[in-house]
């Protein structure tokens, strides 16, 4: 189990790095779904005390919501908006990858100074959560398209969830709060979808205008 949790945490950081370096929106959403699934399995692997029934419910909820529901909504939004790529981010892909590596280093340094809560098998959790949060933040800051910003936000939220996981036994409701935040994100995403549909209607009207001018 210890190996599994290490594997998952490494994978989560690697997927965040991939998100920083990828320009294809559909690819980003698929990677985000994979990260969500990793997060879903993680609670089962990480705690050495026996499984709580709550842990199972939480894992299943995370797995379905982050792995399937939210990506589905985002893919729907991409299909509606007809944008395939983030063309001109404020920070280039190669430099944001390098920044990401730097942030990983910084988060390990910060995590050294934080006390690791008892009941955890690996000291990797805190630095990984900090790194994920910072990379999500970087994505939110450095991208222009609303959709990639939402992806950045979701990565950031994944980091918060990871951090909450380390103290899940002490403060159980913090996790539920995280899931609630996810629901909020879904609403957020829907808002953007509606926003873009409105913009699409605009474009339809301009089409009409050009056809009139012919």
């Amino acid at each position: 189990m210890h190996e599994l949790s290490q594997l998952l945490l490494t994978l989560i950081v690697f997927l965040s790095l991939y998100l920083l370096g990828s320009s294809s929106l559909t690819g980003c959403v698929n990677i985000l779904a994979l990260q969500g699934m990793c997060l879903g399995i993680l609670p089962l692997a990480i705690h050495e005390r026996g499984f709580h029934s709550r842990t199972f419910v939480l894992a299943a909820g995370m797995f379905v919501l982050k792995g399937f529901v939210i990506p589905r909504v985002l893919l729907y939004a991409i299909r509606e908006v007809k944008i395939r790529r983030e063309i001109n981010p404020l920070v280039g892909y190669t430099s944001s990858l390098l920044l990401g590596a730097l942030l990983i280093g910084v988060s390990f340094i910060i995590a050294e100074r934080l006390p690791v809560p008892a009941g955890l098998r690996t000291g990797l959790l805190i630095p990984v959560s900090l790194a994920t949060m910072m990379m999500g933040m970087l994505m939110m800051i450095s991208r222009i398209k609303a959709l990639t910003q939402v992806i950045g936000y979701l990565v950031f939220e994944n980091g918060i969830y990871l951090f909450g996981l380390s103290i899940a036994y002490e403060i159980p409701w913090l996790i539920e709060l995280g899931v609630l935040l996810d629901v909020f994100v879904a609403v957020f995403v829907m808002g953007i979808v509606i926003n873009h549909i409105a913009r699409a209607f605009d474009s339809i009207s301009t089409e009409k205008l050009t056809s009139l001018s012919d």
Binding site: L7, T10, G21, T94, G105, L124
Partner: protein, 299 residues
């Protein structure tokens, strides 16, 4: 007696393993595409055929051009002596990892020099690309070597590349594996970085540098390149598979090399070549992975 056995097995390995591996890659690609594919030892037949031919040298070239293939093959052979190929390496000493990495550097340097020596702008372009990409592949290689060396507490290839237990062993192994696999693909001009089958000026990196070589020279280059592929793959295998029951270390290595060849074949069949501007990004990702691995073991 033991020395004789190890010498003979080393010679057989150096002679046949590169061709077997390239053959398995070609067979995998053919199987995925629904073709029959060339015989497994086709590249060996090519090398034998090339060795029987004479060489033609352009009058603009100098001794550097003739030096290139010889030095690159001998660098690969020297690296093979250092590498732990199924069992202990023939020569092992503290710090051989650095020598191993820079023997490849030497091979690349002489190949680039030979390409520039022809005076063809076409080969100069290939040389420039090769150097640009390897300047990114080398940090990834050295960083992952550094992580593994720190983990093993030794700069000896034999101890660095072995099964390791301890905190964050799994995570650092995975990161080193991922990073080294990307470096392997880049250094051996396999598909996401370079296409070994094309001869179009826009797509080539490594192939373009050896266009002016023919006959025995080309045979040396092919053998050296294949050997490089085997050596880098053997390092990957050593990280994951140690000793298997029934077949022993040598059998485990053979099985591992076969699996790596199949993996490369599958990557090549399922992916297109990356655009040249995207290649540095892939290599930077490899650098990030190995840097992360290094941070993990440094804590």
């Amino acid at each position: 007696m033991e020395t004789l056995t190890s010498a003979v097995s080393f010679a057989l390995l150096v002679l046949f393993a590169p061709h077997l591996m390239l053959g398995v890659i070609a067979k995998t690609k053919a199987a995925v595409a629904g073709r029959k594919g060339p015989p497994v030892l086709q590249t060996l037949y090519d090398v034998v055929k090339l060795l029987g031919k004479g060489a033609v040298y352009s009058t603009t070239t100098t001794w550097i051009f003739r030096l290139g293939p010889v030095v690159s093959l001998s660098a690969a052979l020297a690296a093979a002596v250092l590498a732990p190929l199924g069992g202990p390496s023939l020569v092992a000493f503290e710090g051989d990892a650095v020598l191993f990495a820079y023997l490849f550097g030497l091979g690349r340097f002489v190949t680039v020099m030979a390409a520039l020596d022809t005076g063809s702008s076409f080969e100069g372009m290939g040389a420039s690309r090769e150097v640009a990409f390897s300047s990114l592949a080398e940090p990834a290689l050295i960083l992952s070597f550094a992580g593994l060396a720190y983990r093993a507490g030794s700069l000896c290839l034999e101890r660095m590349f072995s099964i390791h237990v301890g905190p964050s062993a799994v995570a650092s192994t995975i990161l080193a594996l991922g990073s080294l696999f990307i470096v392997l693909l880049a250094e051996n001009s396999r598909i996401p970085v370079d296409d070994p089958n094309t001869h179009l000026e826009l797509t080539m990196i490594h192939e373009v540098m050896v266009l002016d070589h023919g006959g025995p020279d080309l045979a040396f280059i092919l053998q050296g390149a294949g050997l490089k592929l085997v050596l880098m793959s053997s390092l990957l295998v050593r990280l994951v598979i140690g000793d298997l029951p029934f077949v022993g270390a040598a059998g485990a290595m053979a099985l591992g090399l076969f699996l790596v060849a199949v993996a490369i074949g599958l990557v090549e069949s399922s992916m297109a070549r990356l655009r040249l501007v995207r290649v540095p990004q892939l290599l930077v990702a490899a650098i990030c992975a190995s840097a992360f691995g290094l941070i993990l073991v440094l804590r």
